[in-house]
């Protein structure tokens, strides 16, 4: 039996007070030792768990002989954002879930190995990527998040002229505004975005498609279009008091902290309210991110309020464990029914009820039910709603014939083509909020569909 190399990390009591990266990455010795755990099975299953089909056995094999250059080349054949994926992919439900070692012991730490190779290359200087000869075709990519970056990268490599439109002032989408610095450093994202730029992709930040130009107008200027606009519209619960001062959507809270760097106020101009007692409603990765940001901003107590039990928390186990280590309080089987405020309309807390789990619902998870008479107040000066996001309807303004589902997502066929010929879509705007890597997979699929369409 071989033991999986542990990930070096900042101690919980230290990192709870800074925004620096939590997981520090393997040393070279650790990386080689972990790679050596791979038994090179005849029929490797790991690849089928990877939405972008990285040749995992091949890159790990190169690592065994410390040939990290070959390893990163192999990864980059199919994945343009390895430093990002190595950090934020839920490997435990993807590649690592299929690793044969996982049946008896812990699977090979594929994600950590990917991160090591990516960081190795970033430190050394990234090689300029290869491009096919120009095709003379112009493709618009709308949205610069994981789906858009993956699509733009593949399309540019094929020799198409790619213009990428981004509504915010920096490229990266959720990688920039959503995922915090301590989980995904922004200079890492910038390096990955720069790599896409080296492929000749023309970045247009501050361009809100649907406003400055519509899809109908883009159709006249470009031979094909990819829509990767994500799921950026925050959901609220629709309960009393949600508009009180001090109630944030997780999107706003995280955008202020991550994109606008409010944690460095007043050095950076964007302010944020630093609560002493913070409640985060929701149990996904976004809720964990918001809670851990609130803690780092200096809160005395941050609690996650989630209506189901620990087992159903949708966040990655690693994130939940990290949050617990840092001292985040988990108020499980608890649901707010009303946000409370004072006469100045400042939030003072949330009236909550206790829940119990009943029969499984459509999603297979046991349905939470209110326990009668369990009303109680959780005091707070900041409440953050992290209960999900929906696609932004802006993209439909001036998009004649673009079909949407009743949830506001764009409808596509199995190749990623929308109801408009030559317009593909992928990522959260199609699936609703999901993972970075599934969005990248959709971006790559759409890129190959666009390639065929342009031939």
């Amino acid at each position: 039996m071989s033991v999986r190399q542990p990930m070096p990390a900042q101690p919980a009591d230290v990192r709870a007070h800074n925004f620096k990266e939590v997981a520090l990455g393997y040393t070279q010795e650790q990386a080689v030792a972990e790679a050596e755990r791979c038994i090179e099975c005849k029929n490797p299953q790991c690849v089928k768990g990877c939405p972008v089909n990285i040749d995992i056995p091949a890159f790990i094999k190169s690592m065994k002989t410390s040939d990290f250059d070959s390893a990163i080349d192999k990864i980059k054949e199919t994945n343009s954002l390895p430093a990002v994926c190595g950090r934020v992919c839920p490997q435990e439900t993807q590649c690592e879930m299929y690793c044969i070692l996982g049946k008896k012991e812990e699977p090979v730490a594929i994600g950590r190995l990917e991160r090591f190779c990516a960081d190795y290359e970033l430190e050394k200087g990234v090689k300029a990527p290869q491009r096919a000869p120009p095709t003379g075709k112009h493709v618009a990519v709308v949205g610069s998040g994981p789906a858009g970056l993956a699509a733009a990268s593949d399309l540019a490599k094929e020799g198409h002229e790619v213009t990428m439109f981004e509504a915010l002032h920096s490229a990266g989408g959720v990688l920039i505004y959503g995922i915090p610095e301590f989980r995904l450093p922004k200079d890492i994202v910038q390096e990955e975005v720069d790599y896409i730029g080296q492929l000749g992709v023309d970045m247009k930040p501050g361009y809100v498609i649907g406003k400055i130009k519509t899809i109908d107008e883009l159709k006249n200027e470009f031979d094909a279009i990819f829509l990767g606009t994500g799921a950026g519209l925050p959901n609220f619960m629709g309960i009393d008091g949600e508009n009180l001062n001090g109630v944030y959507s997780a999107n706003e809270f995280l955008t202020r902290v991550n994109l606008m760097k409010a944690y460095q106020f007043p050095e950076y101009d964007t302010p944020i309210k630093k609560g002493k007692h913070v409640i985060v409603v929701g149990g996904g990765n976004v809720a964990m991110d918001a809670a851990r940001c609130a803690l780092r901003l200096g809160a005395d107590e941050v609690s996650i309020v989630y209506r189901r039990s620990d087992e159903e928390l949708p966040a990655r186990r690693e994130e939940i464990e990290h949050a617990k280590e840092e001292g985040i309080v988990f108020r499980l089987l608890t649901n707010p029914v009303k946000i409370l405020g004072d006469e100045k309309l400042m939030v003072t807390g949330a009236e909550c009820v206790k829940m119990e789990l009943g029969e499984p619902d459509d999603s297979g998870r046991r349905r939470p039910q209110v326990i009668e008479g369990s009303e109680h107040v959780v005091y707070a000066d900041i409440v953050i709603m992290a209960i999900g996001t929906s696609p932004n309807p802006l993209i439909f303004e001036g998009a004649e014939g673009l079909e949407a589902s009743k949830w506001g997502t764009i409808i596509v066929d199995e190749a990623g083509m929308t109801s408009i010929d030559g317009v593909c879509a992928g990522g959260d705007v199609v699936t609703g909020a999901a993972t970075v890597i599934s969005a990248m997979g959709a971006g790559k699929l759409a890129a190959s569909t666009i390639n065929e369409y342009l031939e």
Binding site: V208, E242, N243, S249, N251, M260, P266, T270, P393, L394
Partner: protein
């Protein structure tokens, strides 16, 4: 990508006009919409209603009053400087249509966003009656421009230094009580003025719109910071607005939310002014040199 400042001057004390080169924004802009700008890498994103735009010359005009750090910093920029970001047009355009008689009310720096509406309503064939107000004569902006675009123009000042001694609402009430039918009122200005207009029109059956400018970050519906309560329903001013039915707006909530960051704004101004005053300065980062 950066944005050139083509022209910039102080219209009246603390109120400045700036023309920004942004041809694509100008091409798409319509009356009632706004932009979001950021001065530099450490700057915040602030929304400003479009005061004018010129498609042929490819610029957008903004008019702003020095309030917080960002507007104070903006006031010090010259045509040698550039803006880091200039995003727009954002929000829903005003629903300009031929109605008959339209009364446009602008208070303080709110006259700026009223000006393109006056042009648009006139072009659509309406009789435009404008009321513009300020604390005093020396703070009144766009008087000549508004006169050119209006069939009738009323001026009010709080101190009586020009025009009617009193508030814009006094004239609104006179017009509503007069013989001429009014088909729509659009009022833009400080929240307290818009709330007063909403109060005055209450007994009359005249459609009245106000343009809200709450705190926002992205301006595309992503943050929800600009939540306003309209007839008991939560709306995002950036994508559902900025114009709403005056009678349905919960002004108390909106004004309270506008004040949320007042302590931080004061702190930012204090730090900024200290930097500007100090001998070493800020190393030129604030561009006030």
């Amino acid at each position: 990508m950066t944005y050139d400042i083509l022209e910039k001057y102080e219209m009246v004390p603390t109120v400045h006009l700036m023309k920004i080169r942004a041809p694509d924004v100008a091409k798409a802009a319509k009356a009632g919409q706004f932009i979001i700008l950021r001065i530099n890498e450490t700057g915040e994103r602030i929304p400003l209603t479009i005061a004018d735009f010129n498609v042929d010359e490819g610029y957008v005009t903004i008019i702003f009053q020095e309030m917080g750090k960002t507007t104070k910093q903006l006031a010090k920029l010259t045509t040698d400087d550039k803006l880091q970001d200039f995003v727009g047009p954002l929000g829903q355009p005003s629903k300009i249509e031929k109605l008959g008689t339209v009364v446009l009310v602008g208070g303080g720096v709110g006259v700026a966003p009223i000006y393109p509406q006056a042009k648009a309503y006139r072009e659509a064939g309406n009789k435009v009656i404008s009321i513009i107000g300020a604390r005093s004569e020396d703070l009144l902006i766009l008087e000549d421009e508004m006169r050119n675009e209006s069939d009738e123009l009323y001026i009010t000042t709080d101190d009586g230094s020009k025009g009617h001694h009193g508030f814009v609402t006094d004239i609104v009430l006179d017009l509503l009580e007069g013989d001429e039918a009014v088909d729509r009122i659009v009022a833009i200005g400080p929240p307290i003025m818009m709330r007063a207009v909403a109060g005055v029109v209450e007994p009359f059956d005249v459609e009245t719109l106000v343009s809200l400018n709450p705190v926002m970050v992205d301006g595309t519906g992503m943050c929800g910071g600009c939540r306003v309560l309209i007839d008991g329903e939560t709306k995002f001013a950036c994508v559902d607005g900025p114009e709403f039915d005056a009678r349905k707006v919960d002004f108390n909530l909106m004004m309270s939310r506008l004040g949320l960051y007042r302590p931080e704004e004061a702190e930012a101004v204090e730090v900024y002014e200290k930097e500007c005053e100090s001998e070493t300065g800020c190393g030129g980062g604030c561009t006030c040199q």
